[in-house]
Symmetry: C2
Subunit: 240 residues, 2 copies
Protein backbone atom coordinates (compact mmCIF):
# COMPACT_ATOMS: atom_id res chain seq x y z
CA UNK A 1 0.00 0.00 0.00
CA UNK A 2 1.49 3.26 -1.13
CA UNK A 3 0.14 6.66 -0.05
CA UNK A 4 0.32 9.08 -2.96
CA UNK A 5 -1.12 12.23 -1.38
CA UNK A 6 -2.48 13.48 1.90
CA UNK A 7 -4.35 16.52 3.07
CA UNK A 8 -5.84 17.67 6.37
CA UNK A 9 -9.46 18.73 5.70
CA UNK A 10 -11.28 21.54 7.49
CA UNK A 11 -13.16 19.07 9.68
CA UNK A 12 -9.83 17.78 11.00
CA UNK A 13 -9.99 14.57 8.99
CA UNK A 14 -6.81 13.31 7.30
CA UNK A 15 -7.62 12.26 3.73
CA UNK A 16 -5.04 10.11 1.98
CA UNK A 17 -5.00 8.68 -1.51
CA UNK A 18 -3.37 5.30 -1.88
CA UNK A 19 -2.66 2.64 -4.47
CA UNK A 20 -2.38 -1.05 -3.81
CA UNK A 21 -1.25 -2.76 -6.98
CA UNK A 22 -3.84 -1.64 -9.52
CA UNK A 23 -6.35 -0.58 -6.88
CA UNK A 24 -6.74 3.18 -6.27
CA UNK A 25 -8.25 4.13 -2.92
CA UNK A 26 -8.99 6.81 -0.36
CA UNK A 27 -8.59 6.63 3.39
CA UNK A 28 -10.11 9.03 5.91
CA UNK A 29 -8.96 9.00 9.55
CA UNK A 30 -9.38 11.41 12.44
CA UNK A 31 -6.87 10.16 15.00
CA UNK A 32 -3.90 7.92 15.64
CA UNK A 33 -5.43 5.39 18.07
CA UNK A 34 -6.58 2.13 16.42
CA UNK A 35 -10.08 2.88 15.09
CA UNK A 36 -12.81 0.58 13.84
CA UNK A 37 -12.98 0.60 10.06
CA UNK A 38 -15.82 1.19 7.59
CA UNK A 39 -15.36 0.16 3.96
CA UNK A 40 -17.55 2.22 1.61
CA UNK A 41 -18.41 0.88 -1.81
CA UNK A 42 -19.49 3.31 -4.52
CA UNK A 43 -22.66 2.74 -6.60
CA UNK A 44 -22.39 0.81 -9.87
CA UNK A 45 -20.85 2.83 -12.75
CA UNK A 46 -19.65 5.56 -10.35
CA UNK A 47 -16.48 6.12 -8.28
CA UNK A 48 -14.87 6.70 -4.89
CA UNK A 49 -14.95 10.52 -5.20
CA UNK A 50 -18.74 10.66 -5.42
CA UNK A 51 -19.67 13.69 -3.26
CA UNK A 52 -22.38 11.90 -1.27
CA UNK A 53 -19.94 9.05 -0.56
CA UNK A 54 -17.19 11.44 0.54
CA UNK A 55 -19.65 13.36 2.74
CA UNK A 56 -20.64 10.15 4.55
CA UNK A 57 -17.02 9.03 4.91
CA UNK A 58 -15.89 12.36 6.38
CA UNK A 59 -18.88 12.40 8.76
CA UNK A 60 -18.06 8.88 10.03
CA UNK A 61 -14.44 9.90 10.58
CA UNK A 62 -14.95 13.43 11.94
CA UNK A 63 -17.99 12.87 14.16
CA UNK A 64 -17.65 9.20 15.15
CA UNK A 65 -13.92 8.46 14.97
CA UNK A 66 -14.15 5.67 12.43
CA UNK A 67 -11.43 5.01 9.86
CA UNK A 68 -13.11 4.91 6.45
CA UNK A 69 -11.82 3.56 3.15
CA UNK A 70 -13.15 3.60 -0.42
CA UNK A 71 -11.66 2.04 -3.54
CA UNK A 72 -12.55 2.20 -7.21
CA UNK A 73 -13.97 -1.14 -8.31
CA UNK A 74 -12.56 -2.73 -11.49
CA UNK A 75 -13.66 -0.70 -14.50
CA UNK A 76 -14.71 2.28 -12.36
CA UNK A 77 -13.33 5.70 -11.46
CA UNK A 78 -9.61 6.02 -12.19
CA UNK A 79 -9.41 2.52 -13.70
CA UNK A 80 -9.73 1.53 -17.36
CA UNK A 81 -13.29 0.80 -18.47
CA UNK A 82 -13.92 -2.13 -20.77
CA UNK A 83 -15.84 -1.82 -24.04
CA UNK A 84 -17.74 -4.95 -23.05
CA UNK A 85 -19.00 -3.33 -19.82
CA UNK A 86 -20.03 -0.20 -21.71
CA UNK A 87 -21.99 -2.37 -24.13
CA UNK A 88 -23.68 -4.31 -21.30
CA UNK A 89 -24.58 -1.08 -19.51
CA UNK A 90 -26.12 0.22 -22.70
CA UNK A 91 -28.03 -3.08 -23.12
CA UNK A 92 -29.35 -2.66 -19.57
CA UNK A 93 -30.54 0.90 -20.15
CA UNK A 94 -32.26 -0.12 -23.36
CA UNK A 95 -33.97 -3.13 -21.75
CA UNK A 96 -35.15 -1.01 -18.78
CA UNK A 97 -36.58 1.65 -21.11
CA UNK A 98 -38.34 -1.03 -23.16
CA UNK A 99 -39.71 -2.67 -20.01
CA UNK A 100 -37.99 -5.95 -20.92
CA UNK A 101 -36.63 -8.47 -18.38
CA UNK A 102 -33.12 -7.55 -17.23
CA UNK A 103 -32.03 -10.55 -15.12
CA UNK A 104 -29.66 -11.95 -17.73
CA UNK A 105 -28.09 -8.55 -18.42
CA UNK A 106 -27.72 -7.85 -14.69
CA UNK A 107 -25.90 -11.17 -14.27
CA UNK A 108 -23.66 -10.40 -17.23
CA UNK A 109 -22.81 -6.92 -15.90
CA UNK A 110 -22.65 -7.41 -12.14
CA UNK A 111 -21.38 -10.95 -11.59
CA UNK A 112 -17.94 -10.11 -13.07
CA UNK A 113 -17.97 -6.90 -11.01
CA UNK A 114 -18.67 -8.85 -7.80
CA UNK A 115 -16.05 -11.45 -8.65
CA UNK A 116 -13.49 -8.76 -9.41
CA UNK A 117 -14.24 -6.39 -6.53
CA UNK A 118 -14.51 -8.82 -3.61
CA UNK A 119 -10.90 -10.14 -3.74
CA UNK A 120 -9.70 -6.55 -4.11
CA UNK A 121 -11.62 -5.49 -1.00
CA UNK A 122 -10.01 -8.38 0.89
CA UNK A 123 -6.53 -7.40 -0.26
CA UNK A 124 -7.27 -3.80 0.70
CA UNK A 125 -8.55 -4.95 4.09
CA UNK A 126 -5.31 -6.85 4.75
CA UNK A 127 -3.30 -3.72 4.00
CA UNK A 128 -5.56 -1.37 6.00
CA UNK A 129 -5.60 -3.56 9.09
CA UNK A 130 -1.79 -3.56 9.07
CA UNK A 131 -1.82 0.22 9.69
CA UNK A 132 -1.39 1.22 13.36
CA UNK A 133 -4.28 3.71 13.19
CA UNK A 134 -6.77 1.03 12.13
CA UNK A 135 -7.83 -1.63 14.59
CA UNK A 136 -11.04 -3.18 13.40
CA UNK A 137 -13.69 -4.54 13.70
CA UNK A 138 -14.84 -3.82 10.18
CA UNK A 139 -18.12 -2.69 8.67
CA UNK A 140 -19.15 -2.43 5.01
CA UNK A 141 -21.59 -0.08 3.39
CA UNK A 142 -22.44 0.34 -0.24
CA UNK A 143 -23.48 -1.67 -3.24
CA UNK A 144 -25.57 -4.62 -2.13
CA UNK A 145 -24.30 -7.09 -4.73
CA UNK A 146 -20.64 -6.66 -3.74
CA UNK A 147 -21.49 -6.39 -0.05
CA UNK A 148 -23.38 -9.68 0.12
CA UNK A 149 -20.53 -11.68 -1.42
CA UNK A 150 -17.91 -9.82 0.63
CA UNK A 151 -19.78 -10.45 3.89
CA UNK A 152 -20.22 -14.10 2.94
CA UNK A 153 -16.55 -14.86 2.29
CA UNK A 154 -14.87 -12.36 4.64
CA UNK A 155 -15.39 -13.16 8.34
CA UNK A 156 -13.79 -9.86 9.38
CA UNK A 157 -16.89 -7.97 8.16
CA UNK A 158 -18.97 -7.64 11.36
CA UNK A 159 -21.88 -5.42 10.24
CA UNK A 160 -23.17 -3.97 6.98
CA UNK A 161 -25.35 -1.17 5.63
CA UNK A 162 -26.68 -2.04 2.19
CA UNK A 163 -28.10 0.42 -0.29
CA UNK A 164 -30.89 -1.86 -1.47
CA UNK A 165 -31.79 0.08 -4.62
CA UNK A 166 -29.29 -1.64 -6.90
CA UNK A 167 -29.39 -4.70 -9.12
CA UNK A 168 -28.18 -7.98 -7.64
CA UNK A 169 -27.28 -11.07 -9.71
CA UNK A 170 -29.45 -14.13 -9.06
CA UNK A 171 -26.68 -16.22 -7.55
CA UNK A 172 -25.78 -13.42 -5.12
CA UNK A 173 -29.45 -12.99 -4.11
CA UNK A 174 -29.37 -16.65 -3.07
CA UNK A 175 -26.20 -16.08 -1.05
CA UNK A 176 -28.08 -13.49 1.02
CA UNK A 177 -29.82 -16.37 2.81
CA UNK A 178 -26.50 -17.48 4.28
CA UNK A 179 -25.62 -14.13 5.86
CA UNK A 180 -25.95 -13.83 9.62
CA UNK A 181 -24.24 -10.50 10.37
CA UNK A 182 -26.27 -7.52 11.68
CA UNK A 183 -27.40 -5.35 8.82
CA UNK A 184 -29.28 -2.20 7.95
CA UNK A 185 -30.93 -2.14 4.54
CA UNK A 186 -31.82 1.15 2.85
CA UNK A 187 -34.59 1.36 0.28
CA UNK A 188 -35.82 4.39 -1.63
CA UNK A 189 -39.55 3.73 -1.70
CA UNK A 190 -40.35 5.86 -4.75
CA UNK A 191 -37.34 4.98 -6.90
CA UNK A 192 -38.79 5.18 -10.41
CA UNK A 193 -35.99 3.06 -11.88
CA UNK A 194 -36.32 0.03 -9.58
CA UNK A 195 -39.12 -2.41 -8.91
CA UNK A 196 -39.85 -2.42 -5.20
CA UNK A 197 -40.89 -6.03 -4.68
CA UNK A 198 -37.54 -7.68 -5.54
CA UNK A 199 -35.86 -5.34 -3.05
CA UNK A 200 -38.33 -6.31 -0.31
CA UNK A 201 -37.84 -9.98 -1.23
CA UNK A 202 -34.09 -9.54 -0.86
CA UNK A 203 -34.50 -7.97 2.58
CA UNK A 204 -36.73 -10.91 3.49
CA UNK A 205 -34.11 -13.39 2.28
CA UNK A 206 -31.25 -12.30 4.55
CA UNK A 207 -30.56 -14.93 7.19
CA UNK A 208 -29.57 -12.29 9.77
CA UNK A 209 -31.51 -12.18 13.02
CA UNK A 210 -30.67 -8.49 13.40
CA UNK A 211 -31.78 -6.83 10.20
CA UNK A 212 -33.55 -3.50 9.84
CA UNK A 213 -35.16 -2.07 6.72
CA UNK A 214 -35.30 1.72 6.33
CA UNK A 215 -37.45 2.98 3.47
CA UNK A 216 -37.58 6.67 2.57
CA UNK A 217 -39.00 8.95 -0.07
CA UNK A 218 -36.84 11.09 -2.35
CA UNK A 219 -36.03 9.01 -5.43
CA UNK A 220 -33.02 6.82 -6.22
CA UNK A 221 -30.31 9.14 -4.93
CA UNK A 222 -32.39 10.99 -2.33
CA UNK A 223 -31.54 9.02 0.82
CA UNK A 224 -32.03 11.59 3.62
CA UNK A 225 -28.99 12.71 5.58
CA UNK A 226 -30.49 11.44 8.85
CA UNK A 227 -29.87 7.93 7.49
CA UNK A 228 -26.13 8.70 7.52
CA UNK A 229 -26.40 9.66 11.18
CA UNK A 230 -28.37 6.49 11.85
CA UNK A 231 -25.88 4.32 9.97
CA UNK A 232 -23.12 5.77 12.16
CA UNK A 233 -25.11 4.75 15.25
CA UNK A 234 -25.70 1.29 13.75
CA UNK A 235 -21.97 0.84 13.12
CA UNK A 236 -21.29 2.25 16.59
CA UNK A 237 -23.48 -0.43 18.17
CA UNK A 238 -21.77 -3.24 16.30
CA UNK A 239 -18.17 -2.11 15.79
CA UNK A 240 -17.30 -0.30 19.02
Amino acid sequence: MRFTSEQRLDDGVLEREFTLGEIPGLLWTSGSAPAPLILIGHPGSLHKRLPRLVARARYYAAEHGFAVAAIDAPGHGDRPRSAEDEQTRSDLRRALQAGEPVDEIVDRLLLPLVEGAVPEWRTTLDALLALPEIGGPVGYEGLTAIGIRLALVEPRIAAAVFFGMGFVPGIVREEARQLTLPLQFLLQWDDAGMERQPVLDLFDAFGSQQKTLHANMGGHTGTPWFETEDAARFFGRHLK
Copy 2:
Protein backbone atom coordinates in the same frame (compact mmCIF):
# COMPACT_ATOMS: atom_id res chain seq x y z
CA MET B 1 -58.17 18.34 34.31
CA ARG B 2 -57.63 17.11 37.84
CA PHE B 3 -54.31 15.67 39.04
CA THR B 4 -54.97 12.75 41.40
CA SER B 5 -51.42 11.70 42.26
CA GLU B 6 -47.86 12.65 41.58
CA GLN B 7 -44.45 11.09 42.17
CA ARG B 8 -40.88 12.01 41.29
CA LEU B 9 -39.28 8.97 39.62
CA ASP B 10 -35.62 7.98 40.00
CA ASP B 11 -34.80 9.39 36.54
CA GLY B 12 -35.99 12.81 37.75
CA VAL B 13 -39.24 12.64 35.76
CA LEU B 14 -42.43 13.87 37.41
CA GLU B 15 -45.22 11.34 36.80
CA ARG B 16 -48.75 12.57 37.44
CA GLU B 17 -52.06 10.76 37.14
CA PHE B 18 -54.97 12.84 36.00
CA THR B 19 -58.64 12.57 35.15
CA LEU B 20 -60.48 14.70 32.65
CA GLY B 21 -64.16 13.87 32.87
CA GLU B 22 -64.23 10.13 32.32
CA ILE B 23 -60.74 10.02 30.80
CA PRO B 24 -57.94 8.69 33.02
CA GLY B 25 -54.45 9.71 32.00
CA LEU B 26 -50.77 9.94 32.86
CA LEU B 27 -48.42 12.84 32.31
CA TRP B 28 -44.62 12.71 32.42
CA THR B 29 -42.56 15.91 32.52
CA SER B 30 -38.95 16.69 33.34
CA GLY B 31 -38.93 20.44 33.73
CA SER B 32 -40.99 23.58 34.13
CA ALA B 33 -40.19 25.37 30.87
CA PRO B 34 -42.80 24.90 28.11
CA ALA B 35 -41.89 21.59 26.46
CA PRO B 36 -43.01 20.03 23.18
CA LEU B 37 -45.57 17.30 23.78
CA ILE B 38 -45.80 13.67 22.70
CA LEU B 39 -49.12 11.85 22.99
CA ILE B 40 -48.66 8.08 23.36
CA GLY B 41 -51.49 5.75 22.46
CA HIS B 42 -51.50 2.23 23.91
CA PRO B 43 -52.02 -0.86 21.71
CA GLY B 44 -55.54 -2.19 21.19
CA SER B 45 -57.00 -4.07 24.21
CA LEU B 46 -54.16 -2.80 26.47
CA HIS B 47 -53.66 0.28 28.68
CA LYS B 48 -51.60 3.35 29.55
CA ARG B 49 -49.53 1.52 32.21
CA LEU B 50 -48.08 -0.94 29.70
CA PRO B 51 -44.40 -1.25 30.75
CA ARG B 52 -42.98 -0.75 27.23
CA LEU B 53 -45.16 2.37 26.81
CA VAL B 54 -44.08 3.80 30.18
CA ALA B 55 -40.41 3.07 29.39
CA ARG B 56 -40.66 5.02 26.12
CA ALA B 57 -42.53 7.89 27.81
CA ARG B 58 -39.98 8.22 30.61
CA TYR B 59 -37.11 8.08 28.11
CA TYR B 60 -38.64 10.87 26.00
CA ALA B 61 -39.11 13.01 29.13
CA ALA B 62 -35.86 12.20 30.96
CA GLU B 63 -33.42 12.15 28.04
CA HIS B 64 -35.04 14.53 25.56
CA GLY B 65 -37.10 16.94 27.66
CA PHE B 66 -40.45 16.19 26.05
CA ALA B 67 -43.71 16.29 27.97
CA VAL B 68 -45.47 12.97 27.37
CA ALA B 69 -49.10 12.01 27.97
CA ALA B 70 -51.02 8.74 27.74
CA ILE B 71 -54.72 8.10 28.28
CA ASP B 72 -56.83 4.98 28.47
CA ALA B 73 -59.01 4.73 25.37
CA PRO B 74 -62.74 4.03 25.86
CA GLY B 75 -63.20 0.44 27.09
CA HIS B 76 -59.52 0.09 28.00
CA GLY B 77 -57.40 0.13 31.17
CA ASP B 78 -59.21 1.71 34.12
CA ARG B 79 -62.41 2.21 32.11
CA PRO B 80 -65.44 -0.09 31.90
CA ARG B 81 -65.21 -2.68 29.14
CA SER B 82 -68.29 -3.48 27.09
CA ALA B 83 -69.59 -7.01 26.60
CA GLU B 84 -70.00 -6.19 22.90
CA ASP B 85 -66.29 -5.34 22.56
CA GLU B 86 -65.34 -8.53 24.34
CA GLN B 87 -67.52 -10.49 21.94
CA THR B 88 -66.05 -8.77 18.89
CA ARG B 89 -62.52 -9.36 20.17
CA SER B 90 -63.32 -13.01 20.60
CA ASP B 91 -64.82 -13.10 17.06
CA LEU B 92 -61.55 -11.59 15.76
CA ARG B 93 -59.36 -14.16 17.52
CA ARG B 94 -61.52 -16.99 16.21
CA ALA B 95 -61.48 -15.66 12.63
CA LEU B 96 -57.70 -15.18 12.72
CA GLN B 97 -57.17 -18.71 14.00
CA ALA B 98 -59.48 -20.09 11.32
CA GLY B 99 -57.70 -18.05 8.63
CA GLU B 100 -60.99 -16.35 7.71
CA PRO B 101 -61.26 -12.75 6.43
CA VAL B 102 -61.33 -10.23 9.29
CA ASP B 103 -62.07 -6.90 7.59
CA GLU B 104 -65.69 -6.71 8.75
CA ILE B 105 -64.78 -7.66 12.33
CA VAL B 106 -61.91 -5.13 12.36
CA ASP B 107 -64.32 -2.40 11.25
CA ARG B 108 -66.84 -3.45 13.92
CA LEU B 109 -64.17 -3.43 16.67
CA LEU B 110 -61.93 -0.52 15.72
CA LEU B 111 -64.16 2.05 14.06
CA PRO B 112 -66.06 2.75 17.31
CA LEU B 113 -62.71 2.84 19.12
CA VAL B 114 -61.34 5.43 16.67
CA GLU B 115 -64.54 7.47 16.86
CA GLY B 116 -64.49 7.38 20.65
CA ALA B 117 -60.78 7.94 21.22
CA VAL B 118 -60.09 10.80 18.81
CA PRO B 119 -62.40 13.42 20.42
CA GLU B 120 -61.02 12.40 23.81
CA TRP B 121 -57.44 12.96 22.63
CA ARG B 122 -58.48 16.41 21.38
CA THR B 123 -60.11 17.29 24.70
CA THR B 124 -57.00 16.04 26.49
CA LEU B 125 -54.83 18.09 24.15
CA ASP B 126 -56.79 21.27 24.98
CA ALA B 127 -56.25 20.67 28.69
CA LEU B 128 -52.57 19.73 28.36
CA LEU B 129 -51.69 22.75 26.23
CA ALA B 130 -53.23 24.99 28.88
CA LEU B 131 -50.56 23.86 31.38
CA PRO B 132 -47.59 26.25 31.66
CA GLU B 133 -45.06 23.37 31.43
CA ILE B 134 -46.39 22.27 28.03
CA GLY B 135 -45.82 24.43 24.99
CA GLY B 136 -46.27 22.29 21.90
CA PRO B 137 -45.80 21.51 19.07
CA VAL B 138 -47.37 18.09 19.41
CA GLY B 139 -46.45 14.61 18.21
CA TYR B 140 -48.42 11.38 18.37
CA GLU B 141 -47.17 7.84 18.60
CA GLY B 142 -49.12 4.64 18.99
CA LEU B 143 -52.00 2.77 17.44
CA THR B 144 -52.12 3.52 13.74
CA ALA B 145 -55.91 3.49 13.39
CA ILE B 146 -56.42 6.17 16.05
CA GLY B 147 -53.35 8.10 14.94
CA ILE B 148 -54.43 8.45 11.32
CA ARG B 149 -57.82 9.90 12.20
CA LEU B 150 -56.35 12.11 14.93
CA ALA B 151 -53.70 13.51 12.57
CA LEU B 152 -56.36 14.08 9.92
CA VAL B 153 -58.74 16.13 12.08
CA GLU B 154 -56.29 17.75 14.51
CA PRO B 155 -53.97 20.32 12.91
CA ARG B 156 -51.94 20.64 16.11
CA ILE B 157 -50.42 17.17 15.49
CA ALA B 158 -47.16 18.01 13.69
CA ALA B 159 -45.45 14.59 13.41
CA ALA B 160 -46.35 10.97 14.13
CA VAL B 161 -44.75 7.60 14.80
CA PHE B 162 -47.13 4.79 13.92
CA PHE B 163 -46.83 1.22 15.09
CA GLY B 164 -47.86 -0.35 11.81
CA MET B 165 -48.57 -3.83 13.13
CA GLY B 166 -52.18 -3.20 14.12
CA PHE B 167 -55.50 -3.55 12.33
CA VAL B 168 -56.90 -0.47 10.62
CA PRO B 169 -60.55 -0.10 9.52
CA GLY B 170 -61.02 0.28 5.76
CA ILE B 171 -62.35 3.84 5.96
CA VAL B 172 -59.36 4.92 8.05
CA ARG B 173 -56.92 3.25 5.62
CA GLU B 174 -58.39 5.51 2.93
CA GLU B 175 -57.94 8.58 5.15
CA ALA B 176 -54.19 7.82 5.24
CA ARG B 177 -53.95 9.20 1.69
CA GLN B 178 -54.91 12.65 2.96
CA LEU B 179 -52.18 12.90 5.59
CA THR B 180 -49.25 15.20 4.86
CA LEU B 181 -47.43 15.36 8.21
CA PRO B 182 -43.93 13.84 8.61
CA LEU B 183 -44.19 10.30 9.88
CA GLN B 184 -42.17 7.31 10.91
CA PHE B 185 -43.85 3.93 10.46
CA LEU B 186 -42.71 0.89 12.44
CA LEU B 187 -43.27 -2.61 11.15
CA GLN B 188 -42.29 -5.91 12.75
CA TRP B 189 -41.24 -7.91 9.70
CA ASP B 190 -41.77 -11.36 11.20
CA ASP B 191 -45.00 -10.70 13.09
CA ALA B 192 -46.73 -14.07 12.89
CA GLY B 193 -50.15 -12.57 13.67
CA MET B 194 -50.23 -9.92 10.90
CA GLU B 195 -50.08 -10.14 7.13
CA ARG B 196 -47.21 -7.99 5.91
CA GLN B 197 -48.58 -6.79 2.58
CA PRO B 198 -51.51 -4.70 3.92
CA VAL B 199 -49.06 -2.95 6.24
CA LEU B 200 -46.73 -2.13 3.34
CA ASP B 201 -49.75 -0.98 1.32
CA LEU B 202 -50.74 1.33 4.15
CA PHE B 203 -47.24 2.84 4.29
CA ASP B 204 -47.45 3.33 0.54
CA ALA B 205 -50.81 5.08 0.87
CA PHE B 206 -49.74 7.89 3.19
CA GLY B 207 -49.74 11.21 1.37
CA SER B 208 -46.78 12.51 3.38
CA GLN B 209 -43.68 13.55 1.47
CA GLN B 210 -41.56 12.82 4.54
CA LYS B 211 -42.34 9.27 5.54
CA THR B 212 -39.90 6.59 6.67
CA LEU B 213 -40.58 2.89 7.14
CA HIS B 214 -38.54 1.00 9.74
CA ALA B 215 -38.92 -2.78 9.67
CA ASN B 216 -37.30 -4.98 12.29
CA MET B 217 -37.22 -8.59 13.39
CA GLY B 218 -38.41 -9.76 16.81
CA GLY B 219 -42.11 -10.54 16.51
CA HIS B 220 -45.17 -8.40 17.24
CA THR B 221 -43.98 -6.85 20.50
CA GLY B 222 -40.23 -7.07 19.84
CA THR B 223 -39.55 -3.57 18.47
CA PRO B 224 -35.87 -2.97 19.37
CA TRP B 225 -35.06 -0.27 21.90
CA PHE B 226 -32.95 1.64 19.36
CA GLU B 227 -36.22 2.49 17.60
CA THR B 228 -37.24 4.42 20.74
CA GLU B 229 -34.03 6.41 20.52
CA ASP B 230 -34.64 6.99 16.84
CA ALA B 231 -38.25 8.06 17.41
CA ALA B 232 -36.97 10.63 19.92
CA ARG B 233 -34.62 12.00 17.26
CA PHE B 234 -37.47 12.03 14.73
CA PHE B 235 -39.67 13.99 17.13
CA GLY B 236 -36.70 16.20 17.92
CA ARG B 237 -36.31 17.10 14.24
CA HIS B 238 -39.98 17.97 13.83
CA LEU B 239 -41.11 19.31 17.22
CA LYS B 240 -38.14 21.30 18.46
